[in-house]
């Protein structure tokens, strides 16, 4: 059965939060999160859904984003200072 985008996004959100709960110091780009935080746990969703999940978590203050000088960004559990 095919999941809709909303379900996939929520699954990605849960997996990201679960990863950060177990590894509170972890940080990576959306690509790395899709491949390693989610992919290795069998959560195989399109990168667009991972992107939307990260945006939603960012909006809710559950994660923070640090922009890298090459234009990419890493996501991690909230902490102070940057990048």
């Amino acid at each position: 059965m095919c999941e809709d985008a909303g379900t996939r996004r929520r699954r990605a959100e849960s997996a990201i939060l679960a990863h950060l709960a177990r590894h509170p110091l972890a940080a990576d780009t959306e690509q790395g999160i899709a491949q390693w935080w989610l992919g290795s746990k069998g959560v195989d969703v399109p990168l667009d859904d991972v992107r939307q999940a990260l945006e939603a978590l960012l909006h809710d203050g559950r994660i923070e984003r640090a922009t890298l000088p090459d234009g990419r960004a890493i996501y991690r559990a909230p902490r102070s200072g940057g990048p």
Partner: protein, 334 residues
């Protein structure tokens, strides 16, 4: 086994399995790593595999494309800066080494690192101590540096444009990611993997490779390597119908309307992809077109072609091999 934890690392060819074995071993130790390989061979994927298989897996993985940062900013971006260190430094700021604390700093396109930054990085790698730009306090960084470079690094070392002492410091552990043309059988394995994956992700019906394109997949040189194959599968899946999928250019003429770079280098907003991917693809098109014209002009004589192009014969030979161009395919004057 590594590939079970990283479903992205797909392949069965001996050269690829050897790279996987090395990745597993390199993950056990904490020394710097230098990954070399052509564009699209999976250097960043390999760097992440080393990080996530290592003791540092719970800490950050921070990637930086050295070629995308202005020369004047790269040191402050790596090491941070104190307030007033330069005109725009209105407040003290930590750098990427601090962001990667406890984890891995991945320096991609290392061959683009300016000479001055090479000196700073070398100094840091000697004792993992550094001073933020404009500051006097000394900081200590607990990071593992994994760097990636294109094969052009060898040329830069020969001409002195890249410091050999930095290269020696980084290549304690050297990993070469093999080009797809040196991985017999893997193009088909990967094509089937990408078809299944993208079809599943985009809720498309499963499709099989068209029998007619299987030989073509094995013969094609794949100059853009795994990334090119992945892009080709995605485009074919989205732009064609039927039970079978044909990746050959002749079968997907419509693909060029969205996939290939325009001759003026521009892309429409809907076609925008990551800068590096678009640049790499444009570079591949340029290389192939240039080499074909060059070899025609030189009537297939590689020595003459190298002279015309102002390149070393060996370097030109490598480029021809990368694009699967055989000298016999070009007209001989006799």
């Amino acid at each position: 086994m590594l590939s079970e934890r990283s479903p992205q690392l797909v392949g069965r060819a001996p050269a690829f399995l050897q790279a996987l074995t090395l990745i597993e071993r390199m993950a056990r130790y904490d020394a710097p790593v230098l990954i070399v390989g052509e564009t699209g061979t999976g250097k960043e994927l390999a760097a992440r595999a080393i990080h996530y298989e290592s003791e540092r897996r719970d800490a950050p993985f921070v990637p930086l494309n050295c070629g995308a940062v202005p020369e004047t900013l790269i040191e402050s971006e790596l090491f941070g800066c104190e307030r007033g260190a330069f005109t725009d430094a209105r407040q003290a700021r930590s750098g990427l080494i601090a962001a990667a604390e406890g984890g891995t700093l991945f320096l991609d396109e290392l061959d683009s690192l300016p000479l001055r930054a090479q000196v700073s990085l070398l100094r840091f790698l000697q004792d993992f101590r550094y001073r933020p730009v404009g500051g006097t306090r000394e900081c200590c960084g607990d990071v593992r540096v994994v760097a990636a470079a294109s094969p052009r690094l060898h040329e830069l070392l020969e001409t002195g444009a890249f410091r050999d002492d930095l290269a020696f410091r980084l290549n304690v552990l050297l990993l070469e990611m093999p080009p797809l043309r040196d991985r017999p059988g893997d193009a088909r394995v990967l094509a089937e993997y990408f078809i299944a994956r993208h079809a599943r992700q985009h809720a498309l019906p499963p499709r099989a490779l068209a029998p007619g394109c299987v030989d073509w997949i094995a013969r094609y040189a794949w100059p853009g390597n795994v990334r090119e194959l992945d892009n080709r599968v995605q485009r074919a899946l989205m732009l064609s119908d039927g039970d079978e999928l044909d990746l050959r250019p002749c079968a997907t003429n419509s693909i060029s309307a969205t996939g290939a770079p325009r001759s003026d280098g521009a892309v429409s907003a809907g076609d925008l992809r990551a800068f590096n991917d678009a640049r790499d693809e444009a570079m591949l098109h340029f290389e192939r077109s240039y080499l074909e014209q060059l070899m025609h002009s030189a009537h297939g004589n590689v020595t003459h072609a190298a002279r015309l192009a102002g390149k070393e014969r060996r370097a030109l030979g490598k480029l021809l091999k990368k694009h699967g161009l055989e000298r016999d395919a070009f007209d001989s004057p006799n």
